[in-house]
């Protein structure tokens, strides 16, 4: 079992990344605090929400909707570490910033974050 972990809201991310696993402040080469935007390179990674449309059929088509996730790779004196910034700077955060969260509440079965208007249909053997 994993040890108890303290969770924090995504808005606290810039503060949370300053502290390493040992509970001490992370150190950078020039002694500055870590700036997520300036010091950390942004990467995109796509996962999916897939649905087997006809599970009773062996060659059922599979529909997939992409879910975009954002990560930043930062570095301190001890090495590199990864920070997921999806909720902090992704489409969800942008939507929250502009108070247009209605789209998120419309369909909770499939995340609206990163969901595109078209679906990717993939034929897979069931």
């Amino acid at each position: 079992m994993a040890p108890p972990c303290r969770s924090f809201p995504a808005s606290d991310l810039p503060l949370a990344v300053q502290v390493g696993l040992n509970g001490k402040l992370r150190k950078t080469d020039d002694g500055r605090r870590i700036d997520l935007v300036k010091d950390c390179e942004l990467f995109e990674f796509v996962q999916y929400e897939c649905l087997v449309t006809r599970p009773e059929v062996r060659n059922s088509p599979v529909e997939c909707w992409p879910v975009q996730r954002l990560f930043r790779r930062c570095q301190d004196k001890k090495g590199k570490f990864t920070v997921e910034t999806t909720a902090w700077e992704g489409a969800t955060a942008a939507a929250a910033a502009t108070s247009t969260k209605t789209e998120l509440q419309q369909d909770k079965s499939v995340p609206s974050f990163g969901k595109q208007n078209h679906s990717v249909e993939i034929s897979k053997s069931v």
Binding site: F43, V46, V67, F81, W88, T92, I122
Partner: protein
């Protein structure tokens, strides 16, 4: 003629039982070494890794050099002992010790995050809708990692796994 040859070979083996036992022992030891510390193959099934892996009929090649999470990186596909039952699963590593990761699925109401604790990793299936992973049972001890998935095999088709699924994003942040 062939019957005599076979008889001769059998005779050789039966005539030197000690040599036969040594040969069998060496063969078993080498096989054990190869599958325990080299490469393992296993069939994969289930919807949790769609569309990266198919639902059925695909075999995975697992490098045991990466057992216990040795030299694994964020983005790697790993086979691991599922902490809540006896089976072996395959998922993608999204966080290593000290990394920061979302607890829930992107787009859900909760936007809580955690820092992955020492000696653990955060694994998530590529098909978020049908995957039981760290979102369900939390950070997974690196000791449960059996190896890294390096290739897939289908009948008459061998394919290496994509090395780095992360792509550079060159847009200005929203905040």
């Amino acid at each position: 003629m062939s019957g005599r040859q076979f008889g001769g070979l059998l005779g050789d083996l039966l005539g030197h039982p000690f040599r036969t036992v040594i040969f069998a022992g060496k063969f078993l030891a080498f096989t054990h070494l190869f599958f325990e510390y080299g490469i393992q193959t296993a069939p994969a099934q289930g919807p949790s890794m769609l569309p990266t892996f198919e639902l059925l009929g695909q075999w995975l090649v697992v490098s045991r050099r990466h057992r216990f999470g040795r030299n694994v990186e964020v983005g790697d596909l790993v086979a691991y002992n599922i902490p809540v039952d006896e089976n072996v699963g395959v998922k993608r590593i999204l966080g290593l010790p000290g990394d920061y990761i979302m607890l829930d699925t992107p787009g859900r109401e909760s936007q809580a995050m955690i820092q992955v604790p020492q000696g653990h990793c955060w694994i998530v299936g590529d098909n978020l809708a049908a995957s039981r992973d760290s979102r369900y049972f939390g950070p997974v001890p690196l000791a449960l990692i059996r190896g890294k998935v390096v290739a897939t095999i289908k009948p008459f088709h061998f394919q290496w796994v994509e090395k780095n699924p992360f792509h550079r994003e060159n847009r200005s942040p929203a905040i």
